[in-house]
Amino acid sequence: MSPDKPKLLDDTIVAVATAAGVGGVGVVRLSGSDARRIAVEITGRRFEARKATLAEFRDAQGELIDSGLVLCFDDGASYTGEETVEFQGHGSPVALQMIVDTCLAFGARLARPGEFTERSFSNGRMDLAQAEAVADLISSGSAAAVKGAARSLSGVFSDRVRDLGDVLLRLRVYLEADIDFPDEEVDALADGEVERTLREMLERLGVLLGEAQSGVRLAQGASVAIVGAPNAGKSSLLNALSGEQAAIVTDIPGTTRDVLKVDLVLNGLPVRLVDTAGLRETTDPVEQEGVRRALAQLTDADLVIYLRDASAPLLQIPPAWLADALQVMEVWNKADLVDEPDAGMVSVRTGAGLGALTARITEALGHKADASAFTARQRHVQSLRACVAALEAALGIAVLRQHSELIAEEVRLAHRHLGEIVGEVTSDDLLGEIFSTFCIGK
């Protein structure tokens, strides 16, 4: 290895820790074995751990950049688990960037997104679910997501998964004791307890999965597709909703002419709006491909808004288009063209009813402003879904009242999927539970 090549894992990383352009105070965080040395280079002072010290920050040439507080944490006693220094300066992005540049000049490396959290996790300072929550906290752009991330971090989500894990563990103890100790008069299948527990688990998992899914929307944004007959006002609705918010309009490569996406925040909830302007019945093979892609967007969307024209109520889209949609909300537009508009109708042109529509959309996405939502990565949702599938298979066998070894196999799989979220349970843990639950042994 060449001597100047940086080591892979034990180098010192630096990044601005506060959001860009926000607030009066900005923080630069430095973590790794050289953190203190670099802090001394920049300030010309030494620091006691966990004691805020006022200092001047100077660049490599000795020019004053800013002044502020410096906080040092010892190896093993910081957020990342490594030696860490925080520079708290004034919030100017330029000054913060100069501090970062100076750290780089003294040997630090720019941190990748989420790398502080990754180190914290690697050093055993938090579990996987907590680490991901922190990552979400850092990247979340909306107030509700910050609240949700904070909840998950405090372990609400982990705790609930663990509670379910405990139920599964007790179930496995029962099944495995019956298998491994047949002389001990345990009959797991006789009294229907296994079925009852499986049904209860599936019910609780269903609730958790629902909340985890809205958690994913908090972290990643929900997707909402707008569909309707030509001239129903789809693009106008998209513009109206995004016009109120500072939206970023992005073209999707390859589908430019068919689908347009807009990211925006509705009532604190990040939402990706998808306009399927190109969706119409056609026999042209090129256009058919466009239709196929647009339909795929409908299937993927958390919510499909079916925009109707109140002035032309007979205009409809083929019902087959909505057959695979997760959730469809019918919205009548052009209220201004109707003599006596129904409640709930909107007029994109005049703006009437748009506020109520926004509320309807966020409610349909399962988001309430004060809900106990938590961030949960797609990974969690997948693990929970796999857990549900395994338990459903287990229940399918359990009702036959035979083959407890196959029930045990499905429940083992279900348990492992929960373990993907909060850590595995080993067969030794399982045996330990068996021995403390049953009086085993000849």
Binding site: D10, S122, L400, S404, E405, D428, I434, G441
Partner: protein, 623 residues
């Protein structure tokens, strides 16, 4: 003096590990010596007279598939056979044989004495001859040296053994036998981590003083199972019944009133006993709300009246033993022939071993059996076979062999021991095997016999029987696949009459058999002349097919991790990003592959990716 013969492999100990080790080494062609304190106790069952049971019978069948002796001896000595979990699925069914101690000993001794290339010598071993970091032989009590290239140590509970009966205790390897004190002292001086374990036995009872009429009789199963792939019922002796009785509140009162005189509760016993095989005083204390515990009354043999009351092992004083035994229904007049006792003994931390069961510290020195912290004849025999095989292979300059967790319970056993160590006597359970649906009794031969043949363990007789079975199974599978059941056909009617199941469209017999409602015997009439055993096995394969296929992905991923080697000399303390706890564990276990690192408790996906990075980085630097 030095003995004129020199050996490839020297095995110390004539118990279940020692005999399988010596036989396996000799089968593969190594010149082998079995050294025992007493030739008369070769194959002795020190604890209860039974072979097999849940998880254990799986090991026995695997030993048998590798042409070991245990299953054949169990058939020759078995006086009551049962299939446990018969009402559950085939993967967790387990054969258990109540055995006649004397017949079992005879069968083992006969096998040892018939094995070409295997010598037996009676002498206590007092020292290992170690040159540098390599073992060169052993020294016996009379000062006789044996030169050997590899040594397998299978000393059971004899290392530093101490027997407790109430407040009294004395040194002993087993009731009536001397412990190996000198060897224990010598081994303690070598760089092995030593721990202390405890196990116990119940008082034995004279059957003539017992009233069987008030107990529940437990006859053997019909049809009677066999333990070995090569045995038939004709190989088994006369069959007898076991009996079941129970402790009662009076029994528990007597025991509770004498706890202050139990070495277990007074602190005299330091060793840890098994949680799944607690003494009766342990059960009374830990499960105080239970007013009764089962006792299996097992005959010690055909030629004796002595009984083994399974479930009341104890280290209480003898007067308490008499009192509580006589409080039990059927035992009111019982005469105790031998008091129950607890025994404490040394074991060596198996995490200091390699997968071959060779010690990391001394080249050529192998450990097998209770010395590694396990309990049970079957666990001991499995390790013995593996250690004997690998000792012979190391002498021949061949690489060591150990089955994987998805191949055999033997693999699960060794992997658990080497990775996790143990803090109680380790016993096999099916729940330890994550792939238990494929690790069955019925297919142990298919899993292991071809491997055993390649390793030189499997003789011609077994190999021919195996090839015949394999052909028969292949023919039957083809027949099941190709025979089509058409709606309304004679075949469909025959099947409907047997199973109550009909077909609505053309269906293969295999697909028909796969239905949960269809039993293999439903096909017997339709198939005409068919081997029932083969049909049963074909059925199992069909019914588990989907589950086994699903596990294949998981196994494939682990195999990939197995190919990623972690160098011996990684300094885990300097690997950044690992928690201190994991650093210590990795330093301690020193896993040789990523797959084994993944099995260390508390290992996280992030830590594994760090290790992956380490191994890749080292590979790029050229090691």
């Amino acid at each position: 003096m030095q003995h004129p013969n020199s050996y490839d492999v020297i095995v110390i100990g004539g118990g279940h590990a020692g005999t399988e080790a010596a036989l396996a080494a000799a089968r593969t062609g190594a010149q082998t010596l079995l050294l025992t304190q007493n030739v008369e106790t070769i194959g002795q069952m020190s604890c209860n007279p039974a072979i097999g049971g849940i998880g254990k019978s799986h090991l026995v069948r695997e030993i048998d598939a590798l042409d070991g002796i245990m299953a054949k001896a169990a058939d020759a000595a078995g006086i009551q056979f049962r299939v446990l979990n018969a009402r559950k699925g085939p993967a967790v069914r387990a054969t258990r044989a109540q055995t006649d101690r004397a017949l079992y000993r005879q069968a083992i001794r006969h096998a040892v004495e018939s094995q070409p290339g295997l010598d037996v010598f009676q002498q206590s071993v007092v020292d290992l001859i170690v040159v540098g970091e390599r073992v060169r032989g052993v020294r016996t009590q009379m000062g006789l040296d044996f030169i050997g290239s590899a040594v397998v140590l299978t000393t059971g509970t004899f290392l530093g053994g101490k027997i407790h009966i109430g407040e009294a205790n004395h040194a002993g390897g087993r009731a009536g036998d001397a412990p190996s004190i000198a060897l224990a002292e010598r081994l303690r001086a070598l760089p092995f981590r030593v721990g202390r374990l405890k196990t116990g036995t119940p008082p034995r009872i004279d059957g003539r003083s017992v009233d069987f009429n008030v107990m529940e009789e437990q006859p053997g199963d019909e049809p009677r199972p066999v333990m070995s792939f090569l045995s038939t019922q004709a190989d088994q002796p006369r069959q007898v019944s076991c009996y079941i009785t129970h402790t009662n509140e009076r029994t528990h009162e007597i025991i509770a009133g004498a706890l202050d005189r139990s070495p277990l509760f007074s602190g005299t016993i330091e060793g840890t006993g098994p949680r799944y095989c607690p003494s009766i005083e342990d059960k009374v204390v830990r499960f105080a709300d239970k007013t009764s515990h089962q006792i299996f009354v097992e005959p010690e043999g055909l030629g004796t009246h002595e009984l083994y009351p399974n479930g009341i092992s104890t280290s209480l004083p003898f007067d308490v033993q008499i009192a509580y035994v006589r409080s039990i229904r059927g035992f009111e007049q019982a005469h105790i022939t031998r008091p129950g006792y607890a025994i404490e003994y040394d074991f060596f931390d198996p995490r200091d071993l390699q997968y071959s069961l060779e010690t990391r510290a001394i080249e050529g020195l192998f450990f097998a059996g209770q010395i590694n912290g396990t309990t049970g004849y079957e666990e001991a025999a499995a390790q013995g076979l593996l250690a004997g095989l690998n000792a012979a292979r190391s002498v021949a300059g061949k690489p060591a062999w150990c089955p994987r967790r998805d191949e055999a319970y033997i693999g699960v056993l060794i992997d658990d021991l080497i990775n996790l160590g143990t803090n109680e006597p380790y016993r096999m359970f099916t729940s330890r095997a994550e792939y238990r649906l494929r690790l069955r009794e019925d297919n142990a031969d298919q899993r292991l016999t071809p491997l055993g043949r390649d390793l030189g363990l499997v003789g011609d007789k077994r190999w021919q029987a195996f090839e015949q079975k394999t052909r028969g199974l292949a023919e039957l599978s083809e027949r099941l696949d190709k025979t089509l059941v058409r709606p309304g056909s004679d075949l469909a009617q025959t099947l409907f009459a047997a199973s109550g199941q009909s077909v609505s469209k053309e269906t293969s017999l295999a697909a028909f058999l796969k239905r949960p409602e269809v039993r293999p015997e439903d096909l017997q009439l339709a198939l005409g002349d068919v081997d029932v055993g083969l049909l049963l096995q074909a059925t199992i394969e069909l019914k588990y097919e989907g589950y086994i296929a699903r596990q294949a992905d998981e196994i494939e991923r682990i195999r990939k991790h197995e190919k990623i080697r972690l160098p011996d000399d990684i300094d885990y303390r300097s690997v950044e990003g690992l928690s201190n706890e994991l650093r210590e564990k990795l330093e301690h276990h020193r896993p040789d592959t990523l797959a084994r690192a993944a099995r260390i408790p508390g290992m996280t996906p992030a830590a594994l990716s760090l290790l992956l990075v380490q191994s890749k980085r080292r590979a790029q630097l050229g090691g």
